[in-house]
């Protein structure tokens, strides 16, 4: 515990040992009197990767919520003069040394007359200052708040600022990435929410009452889990009518993803119900005259809520990957909706990727988001059972 202390006060070793004992005892008492949530918090804090993952995800979601402000451009704005432009760098020094404010050079498109390949040449004569809170494309945040202030940009879009390059229509990749986060990250949450409701209802019923309902539900779950999910998802989402509005398609795809998603949830809920049904405290509540509803909501749900939260977190990545895969294949969300999968669809052709590898950047975002959810979920799962080991 406090080994350093032992070194410095070696003369009164006995006393030190006594203090150590007292500290240890205090620690132990702290554990004894801590509430379950406190124990969970301590356990969770030990999981460094989970904390890092959680923080990264918070950043991601903040970006997604205020994407209109954080994106330097309108994600749908195209520019035929800036097609497949490589990422630009913000410069802090020019030939005369340090330069403030930071700036980007102007850029000139040149088309090779033989191969028609586009190359971009820096124009050192033109310098555009990069500003925080610069005015740029007008937007309506959440379809309500109008504005034209962007976190970063060249004032009034004076010069090009494409920090992650542009795509085949000259649209800014960074802006699309941030805007796409809103769809790609929210579809995981909405999908998990739908799965959770289905899972709790079906899993709860089959765990609490058992019998025929349980048998049928178990068969169904087993079936859904044994079907290869991508083909099933593909078939279901191909059935989403092409004339639907983007918002309807969004919910259609969410429901398609939840068709398989709820099974995992239902299994967790069911097994917890089965285990808790026999617990003494449930029996005690029953003997004390609590009604079924009260027993379930007041005694059983709180004791497995943490497990549910953990498994919810762990099933979000599957949803995100599902949406991305479907949109990538062209049967999920469709342009003009911007999502990470829709963006990656542009990278499907080897010829496009070979010449403009920055098209793969949305993939990095996906991997990062999925990893963070996995870490966070792992931490939460450990924390959900603070008494283990």
């Amino acid at each position: 515990m406090s080994l350093e202390r032992q070194d410095t006060a070696a003369s009164t070793q006995g006393q030190v040992l006594g203090i150590q004992k007292a500290i240890a005892l205090q620690e132990e008492e702290r554990i004894y009197v801590a509430s379950q949530w406190q124990l969970m918090r301590w356990r969770f804090k030990k999981h460094k990767m989970a904390i890092v993952g959680g923080c990264v995800l918070i950043v991601f979601y903040v970006l997604a919520i205020f994407c209109e402000f954080f994106a330097p451009y309108d994600p749908l704005k195209f520019d035929p003069k800036l097609i497949f432009m490589p990422p630009q760098t913000i410069r802090f020094r020019d030939d005369n040394g340090l330069h403030w404010p930071p700036f980007v050079y102007g850029i000139e498109q040149q088309i090779d007359p033989v191969s028609f390949r586009r190359t971009y040449v820096l124009d050192p004569e033109k310098k555009y200052a990069v500003k925080l809170f610069a005015r740029g494309d007008p937007y309506k945040m959440w379809g309500m708040l109008g504005g034209d202030i962007h976190l970063i940009g060249t004032e009034g879009n004076a010069g090009p600022l494409h920090l992650l390059g542009t795509d085949r229509m000259g649209r800014d990749i960074l802006s699309r990435l941030i805007t796409g986060a809103r769809i790609s990250l929210s579809i995981g949450l909405v999908g998990v929410f739908v799965s959770l409701i289905l899972g709790i209802l079906i899993g709860g019923f089959s765990g609490y009452y058992g019998g025929v309902f349980d048998t049928v539900a178990q068969r169904l779950i087993e079936f859904l889990r044994s079907v290869p999910r991508i083909p099933l998802w593909m078939a279901l989402s191909a059935a989403v009518p092409p004339f639907w509005s983007p918002i309807k398609v969004y919910f259609g795809i969410t429901i398609v993803l939840s068709v398989i998603g709820w099974t995992g949830m239902a299994r967790v809920v069911r097994s917890k119900f089965l285990a808790l049904r026999e617990e003494d405290f449930v029996m005690a509540a029953r003997l004390a005259g609590s009604g079924e509803f009260r027993i379930v909501t007041r005694h059983m749900v709180p004791s497995f809520l943490s497990h549910i939260i953990a498994s919810v977190t762990l099933s979000i990545p599957g949803m995100i990957l599902g949406e991305t895969s479907l949109s990538f294949l062209g049967v999920g969300l469709r342009p003009p909706v911007v999502s990470w999968g829709v963006m990656l669809k542009e990278a499907q052709e080897l010829s496009a990727v070979a010449l403009s590898p920055w098209l793969l950047i949305p993939g990095v975002a996906i991997v990062l988001a999925v990893l963070c959810f996995n870490f966070l979920g792992d931490g939460l799962r450990d924390a959900a059972d603070p008494y283990a080991r």
């Binding site: 991508i230 083909p231 078939a235 059935a239 049967v331 993939g363 991997v367």
Partner: protein, 328 residues
Amino acid sequence: MLQYVIRRFLLMIPTLFIISIVSFVVIQLPPGDFLTTYIASVAEEDGMVDQALVDALRHRYGLDQPQYVRYLKWMGRLLQGEWGQSLEWDRPVKELIGSRIGLTFVISLTTLMMGWLIAFPVGIFSAVKQYSAGDYMFTALSFIGVGTPNFLLALVFMYAIFKLFDYNTAGLFSVEYQEAPWNMAKVLDLLKHLWVPVLILGTGGTAGLIRTMRANLLDELHKPYVVTARSKGLKENRLTLKYPVRVALNPFVSTVGWALPGLISGTTIVSIVLGLPTTGPLLLRALQSQDMYLAGSFLLLLSMLTVIGTFLSDILLAWLDPRIRLTG
């Protein structure tokens, strides 16, 4: 054992039944039936549609009958080995599907084997040398493997190979063998191309298997029977391989059941990226053009084969672990 196999087999039948219903529902899901799509496209080309032909087709596919009759007829024809006609390709579905289903399974099973061959020793190593540098490295790798979607891996891989070796990895056969009948040279050519999808698919699956193996073995390694064996002077290598590894193997085998659907899924999407002649691209095409008989048959076959694969892995598991046949 026989009793277990029979019980498990009987349980499989309702599952297969549900699969057929789901596939049928999926066929029916899109608005309009496939004939309206077909008629629309014919009308666009020729300007005229022969009403008698439409009625004949409608009757031929039983579209004038109620749903359950259509389902029963479809099933009946399937059982007789008649899979219907693909509208888009104007060829029997069976002909289109045959070789593709075969290749899908060749890829999936090869991946499964390779996954085992890698995951097994790596998992044991990670567990025995827990918290060593190697363990951390494999853990990090497997986390990335789990977090990367297969299609993204395929894209990155294609890009990397193309940049490094100026070599396009798409396809399963060299041009000269594409239409050739099967012979030894073609099989060799297949093997030459097979490693790309297998490697891509394997990364995700293998990562999961390594985690499972490591966790299982870690649970076993500190049990009293291991300590007893060690105190009796058994050599460490022999000790690990003979007892805890064997016990840790059980949950490992049981994951095959879950791994198979995942692999088939993965093959579908990776094939689309790499342009492999497996079920993936054709299924996507069929779904997009509402060629629903073809799509439905694909869905049915893939699901059926997966269920059968799961059944086989369950039997394998029961053979390995007597406790399962008595309680499961």
